[in-house]
Symmetry: C2
Subunit: 216 residues, 2 copies
DNA sequence: TGTACATCAGTGAACGCGCGTTCACTGATGTAC
DNA sequence: TGTACATCAGTGAACGCGCGTTCACTGATGTAC
């Protein structure tokens, strides 16, 4: 009895795949989404793309190379989530100072929302040291061409421009704000707040963002 | 040619090991110290204890069981580091309110110091969701019998008692403080601050603790 | 004080697993003439 | 327009690795008589 015909070949009409790099990246993203960085397994990505394991090596030099690509995509998704939240702010018409404050809060809110709804991607994005600061890798940015770190920075710049934040307090402020928000995200995702209710989390998020605004 | 006599048997005089549970736990801690949670490998722990791999199953029901024990020990180390920092505060004689503030800062400082000097243990301690809040597991506590979360809580209580923190702001305050400090630790360990200098980190830590104090 | 025996912490060998990666290959595609 | 050929994205088989875990065992120790 012969082995069943491989589904692979019936799904693919041609010997060539079509767009294997993209298919592998998307499979990798899906794996990260579901299980974080450790779930990004090269063989599984090729399985999902309907291709032999070693085919991946035509497009990625190693497992780590694929993982880095997935990470960049995760950062890009995060940037998009933050941008979406900022866009919501811009529509309201208020004073420039209040709008600047709202923008900073939106960065924090977008960050937290992403962490809670796309936990796997979030964890993947920060699974490995990265020099985000001066990073110009376009794969990590949102529509604006800015990565998450840069989005935070420009929100803080706006705060300075509108006189809300004294200029001398600006340097390094992104690290303070980021620390607070990132820490909360972590406590919710895999820390003691993992069993907190949505309401509690929302209340805590608001208070945290207030703390940052007040204490910056 | 026969295989060389196993060092194992020459090192151990008796058939019994002596204190294998302790040896395995300590080996596990050492592994975590060097490489974080993923480095806690059951077979490697038995190798270091000079024992066959399966011997571990006399004392730990599984790999996960060993890892949990290592995690508890890591949390306990963190508690000790915080307690040591608090002890330094108590020696100075100042007003009660100022002392309470200093205690809270000490909790933050101890936490950050531990994160930076014992990175592997720190990452292991927080590698898995845990309900630290009402946790009475003595393996996770320091000399005071309190785990890190409870140490933070009692520092905040002190702040309320001395009138520094309004009582109505007390509930949930540990999460805000913890978020900020934990987030900074993370950014330094595996985030964009991983290449920052010691001076920069110290300055940032001070500012962050100020922010918490002011914004709480 | 000596002997029989139960206990149980260790041994040694083996398992299946899935991983990342390498090798020599094949065959569809696009291009040069 | 047809043919020869180079390219290179895929195949198929195999590798070594180290892991966690299970099995039947052995032999030192402590205890009961």
């Amino acid at each position: 009895m012969k082995a069943a015909p491989k589904k692979r070949s019936s799904l693919r009409k041609t010997f060539r795949h079509g767009n294997l790099p993209k298919a592998l990246l998307e499979a990798g993203i899906e794996l990260a989404r579901g299980g974080g960085p450790n779930a990004v397994v090269l063989r599984e990505a090729t399985r999902r793309a309907g291709v032999a394991p070693n085919a991946a090596y035509r497009h990625f030099s190693s497992h780590g190379d694929l993982l880095q690509a997935v990470r960049a995509a995760a950062l890009s998704s995060l940037a998009l989530a933050i941008e979406a939240e900022i866009a919501g702010v811009r529509r309201r018409k208020v004073s420039r100072a209040e709008s600047a404050r709202a923008t900073l809060r939106a960065v924090g809110t977008g960050y937290l929302k992403f962490a809670l709804t796309e936990t796997g991607l979030f964890r993947t994005a920060f699974s490995v040291p990265d020099q985000v600061e001066g990073d110009v890798d376009a794969a990590k940015t949102g529509k604006s061409g800015l990565n998450p770190f840069q989005l935070l920075g420009s929100a803080l710049d706006l705060l300075v421009d509108t006189g809300v934040l004294p200029r001398e307090r600006r340097p390094g402020a992104e690290y303070l704000a980021w620390s607070a928000v990132h820490g909360l995200a972590f406590l919710i995702i895999e820390g003691p707040l993992s069993s907190a209710s949505d309401g509690e989390i929302r209340a805590l998020s608001d208070r945290l963002l207030q703390m940052v605004e007040k204490g910056l």
